[in-house]
C-alpha cells in the first residue's frame, strides 16, 4: 500500500501514519520527495481497508499495490483450479458446455430439452426453478417441484444439474438436488448468500453482476472461498453499457484478464451477454478462442413459446451446430469438449 501525504502535511502527521502502519504489523518504507512524502506499507495488506488510512490527517491518497483478494488470486495459487463435476473437470483441458432452458417449465419440457442438449453434446444441464425476474408479475419459477423434475432429467441423461439459488433460505433444499449452485448476476453482491454458499461444499457458478468490475467479481468469489468452499467457477454474462443493439455487452476482455488474475475456471454465457439467439454461436466461439473454460447456453425446444428468455434461447438444432463449431475452436486451442460420465454417444456423433 502506498500512502501519499499532502504537500503541506506536518512531520507529526507523517509520524502518526507511520505509527499506524507499524501497528497493523506492516513494514514502513519512507520516501521523502521535494513536494510529497510517500509512505510504503509492506506486508500482508489484502485484509486492510484503504479507509483505515484515508481518514487520517495529512493523507492525500492511499493506493493499493497488491490485490484486495487473496484466495482467488493466481499469486496465491499459481496452478489452474479444477472443479470436478460428474466425470469431468472444469478448468483443465476439458471445455464444459452447460445447456438448458432459462426456466424449468414442466416435466415434458425439461426432460425433452435435457435429452436434446445431451445428444447435441452438452456436458451439464441448466434450468432455473427460482427466477429473478425484473417484473414481480412475471413467472417466478416452479420451486422445489422444478428441482424434482431436474433430478429426474439427471437420472434420465446423466447430466449434472446447474440451478440458480436466490436466497440463503434455499440452500438446504438446493444442495439436496443440484450439482452446481448458480449465483445470478443480481445476487453477485448478496453477501449473506455468498457466505451461506461458502459454508456448503457444493460447486458454485458465480455470475458477474451487470455493473460489476472484474475486481468486484473476484472479491465476491473471495467470500465463498473464505468460507472454505473452493469449488468456484466464474461466469462472464455481459455488462451494462450504452450500446442498445444487444441486451448486454460481452466483456470478452474479461476472459484473458480473469485467466491472468485468478486460478478459478472462467465460463462465458453468450445467451445473456448478447440477448439474441442469432449472435450466440459467434460469441460462444469467441469465448473459447479467448481462453474460456466453458459455456453456459440457453436452449429451449420451442423458443417462441418459452415463458422466459425466448429471444436468446437456441433451438436444439442450432445448439448442436454451435457445439460443433465450438468443438473445432477447442481443438485449435489444444482442448476438447467435456463429456459427463454417464454420457452415451449419440448415433450421429458430434465434432
Amino acid at each position: 500500500m502506498m500512502i501519499i501525504m499532502k504537500a503541506n502535511a506536518t512531520p507529526q502527521q507523517t509520524e502518526a501514519v507511520i505509527a499506524k502502519v507499524k501497528a497493523e504489523g506492516l513494514n514502513v518504507h519512507l520516501s521523502q520527495g521535494v513536494e510529497a512524502t510517500i509512505i510504503g506499507a509492506i506486508g500482508e495488506t489484502h485484509s486492510i481497508p484503504l479507509e483505515r488510512f484515508e481518514g487520517m490527517d495529512g493523507v492525500e491518497v492511499v493506493q493499493r499495490i497488491t490485490k484486495p483478494y487473496k484466495l482467488a488470486s493466481r499469486q496465491f495459487h499459481p496452478e489452474d483450479s479444477l472443479v470436478p463435476l460428474d466425470g469431468f473437470h472444469v478448468g483443465g483441458d476439458e471445455i464444459a458446455v452447460i445447456a438448458g432452458p432459462c426456466s424449468v417449465e414442466s416435466r415434458s419440457q425439461i426432460l425433452e430439452t435435457a435429452q436434446a442438449v445431451k445428444e447435441a453434446g452438452a456436458s451439464a444441464l441448466r434450468g432455473g426453478v427460482f427466477k429473478p425476474r425484473t417484473s414481480p408479475y412475471s413467472f417466478q419459477g416452479l420451486g422445489e417441484e422444478g428441482l424434482e423434475l431436474l433430478a429426474e432429467a439427471r437420472e434420465a441423461t446423466g447430466l449434472p444439474i446447474v440451478a440458480e439459488i436466490m436466497s440463503q433460505v434455499q440452500v438446504d433444499v438446493m444442495v439436496k438436488y443440484v450439482d452446481v449452485l448458480q449465483v445470478g448476476a443480481r445476487n453477485m453482491q448478496n453477501f449473506n448468500l455468498l457466505r451461506a454458499i461458502g459454508e456448503t461444499r457444493t460447486a458454485v457458478l458465480l455470475k458477474r453482476g451487470l455493473s460489476a468490475s472484474v475486481e468486484e467479481l473476484l472479491m465476491s468469489a473471495e467470500y465463498i472461498l473464505a468460507g472454505g468452499n473452493n469449488r468456484v467457477m466464474l461466469c462472464e454474462r455481459g455488462i451494462r453499457t450504452f450500446e442498445t443493439s444487444t441486451r448486454n455487452t460481452t466483456d470478452i476482455n474479461a476472459i484473458p484478464v480473469l485467466k491472468s488474475l485468478t486460478h478459478l475456471p472462467v465460463i462465458l454465457d453468450p445467451s445473456h451477454s448478447t440477448g439474441y439467439s442469432e449472435f450466440v454461436a459467434a460469441v460462444a466461439r469467441a469465448g473459447i478462442a479467448a481462453g474460456a473454460d466453458g459455456l453456459i447456453v440457453e436452449v429451449h425446444p420451442d423458443p417462441a413459446k418459452a415463458v422466459s428468455d425466448g429471444r436468446q434461447s437456441l433451438k436444439p438444432e442450432a445448439f448442436a451446430a454451435m457445439v460443433k463449431q465450438v468443438g473445432q475452436i477447442a481443438q485449435v486451442m489444444g482442448r476438447k469438449l467435456a463429456v459427463s460420465s454417464a454420457y452415451q454417444p449419440a448415433k450421429q456423433g458430434w465434432a
Partner: protein, 338 residues
C-alpha cells in the same frame, strides 16, 4: 416509423400528423385504439428524421422501425462487400492483418518494423504520422516526413499503407502516399472530415467512436458512402465502460451484429480494445472466431521504448505467434489468412 399519439389526442392533431406523413411521400396507417392512436408511416423513410414528427402537438413518441441508414445496410446491399488491395482482399474468405507501430518514429524504426511484420505474415502496414494524443504536450507525429518513410517501407516490403487522417486539410497531401485512410475513433463524428473522405476514392478504415453505438457508427459511415466512396472498412476498437482492468472494453458482440446489419467488412483492433499486449492474442483469436474480416494490431520492435502505445504493442516475435494462432482459428471457421 410509428408515431404514437398522446392518450386523448383530438382528431385535428391526428389529422395534422397524417397530413405531415403524407407530405413526406409516406403512406399513413392510423390505428385507433381504446386509449391511444398510433400512426404507421410506411415507405422509404430512411431520410425522414424522427424529429420531423416529434414536435407536433399531441405526439407522445416516435419510433423508427426501419434503419436510419441505407447505403451501409445489408438490406440495400445483400452481398458482402469485398475490396481488393495489392496482395489481398478484405470482406471475403481472406482474413488480412494490418500491423505496425502506433507512430512512425523515424526512418530506421519504420523500415525495421515493416520488414518484421511482413515476415511474420502481415498484409498491410500501419503507422501514424498525425497523432490524436490526449495531451497536447505528447508527441504529435512526424507529419509528411513520416509519410515519406512509410512510402519507403512500402517500396521495400510491398505492404500497402494505412495511415490516420485527422483533418480535411491533410487529405490532399496524404492521398499521394497512403493506400487506406484511417479515420480515428475521436473523429468518428467529425462530419466535415467524413464528407471530405466521401469525395475521395481512397478506401477508409473507419474506427468506432469510444462512446458510439453501432447505429451511430453506421450513420457516420453513411456520410462517406453517400459521397460516392464506397470502400469503407469498419473497425471495432473497444468502447468506454465502467471496467478499469483494461483500457477499453472489446465489444465482441459488435462483430456479429455488424455482420448482420451491414455488408461492409468488419475488422478488430485488439491493441486498443484491450490496451495491454498481454491480452491482444486472446482477443485477436476471439475476433476471428466471432467472424471478423481482419485485424489491425500495433507492433513495435522495442515496446518499452515506443513513443506511444508501448504497453499495448506486441514485439515482432509475439506478433508472429499471434499470426500463427489466428491462422488456426481462421481455418476452424472456414477462412484463411492471406
Amino acid at each position: 416509423m410509428m408515431i404514437i399519439m398522446r392518450p386523448g389526442a383530438p382528431r385535428e392533431q391526428i389529422d395534422a400528423v397524417i397530413a405531415a406523413v403524407e407530405g413526406h411521400k409516406l403512406s399513413a396507417h392510423p390505428i385507433f385504439g381504446v386509449e391511444q392512436t398510433i400512426i404507421g408511416a410506411v415507405g422509404d423513410g430512411h431520410y425522414v428524421l424522427k424529429e420531423t414528427f416529434e414536435a407536433f402537438p399531441g405526439v407522445l413518441e416516435v419510433q423508427r422501425i426501419s434503419k436510419p441508414y441505407k447505403l451501409a445496410s445489408r438490406q440495400f446491399h445483400e452481398q458482402d462487400s469485398v475490396f481488393e488491395f495489392n496482395g489481398f482482399t478484405i470482406g471475403g474468405t481472406e482474413v488480412p492483418i494490418i500491423a505496425g507501430p502506433c507512430s512512425v518514429e523515424g526512418r530506421t524504426q519504420i523500415l525495421e518494423v515493416a520488414q518484421a511484420v511482413k515476415e511474420a505474415g502481415a498484409n498491410a502496414l500501419r503507422g501514424g504520422v498525425f497523432k490524436p494524443r490526449t495531451s497536447p504536450y505528447a508527441f504529435q507525429g512526424l507529419g509528411e516526413e513520416g509519410l515519406e518513410y512509410m512510402a519507403e517501407a512500402r517500396e521495400k516490403t510491398g505492404l500497402p499503407l494505412v495511415v490516420e487522417v485527422m483533418a480535411v486539410s491533410q487529405i490532399e497531401m496524404m492521398e499521394k502516399y497512403v493506400d487506406i485512410f484511417q479515420l480515428g475513433a475521436r473523429n468518428m463524428q467529425n462530419f466535415n472530415l467524413l464528407r471530405a473522405l466521401g469525395e475521395t476514392r481512397t478506401p477508409v478504415l473507419f474506427k468506432r467512436g469510444m462512446s458510439a453505438t453501432i447505429e451511430e457508427m453506421l450513420m457516420a459511415s453513411e456520410y462517406i458512402l453517400n459521397g460516392g466512396n464506397h470502400k469503407v472498412i469498419l473497425c471495432e476498437r473497444g468502447i468506454r465502460t465502467f471496467e478499469t482492468a483494461t483500457r477499453n472494453t472489446t465489444d465482441i458482440n459488435a462483430v456479429p451484429v455488424l455482420k448482420k446489419l451491414t455488408h461492409l467488412p468488419v475488422v478488430m483492433d485488439p491493441s486498443h480494445s484491450t490496451g495491454d499486449s498481454a491480452y491482444v492474442q486472446s482477443i485477436a483469436r476471439a475476433s476471428v472466431a466471432a467472424g471478423a474480416d481482419g485485424l489491425i494490431v500495433e507492433v513495435h520492435q522495442d515496446p518499452p521504448r515506443a513513443i506511444s502505445d508501448g504497453k499495448q504493442s506486441l514485439t515482432p516475435e509475439a506478433f508472429a505467434k499471434m499470426v500463427k494462432q489466428v491462422k488456426a482459428v481462421a481455418e476452424a471457421v472456414d477462412r484463411k489468412l492471406v
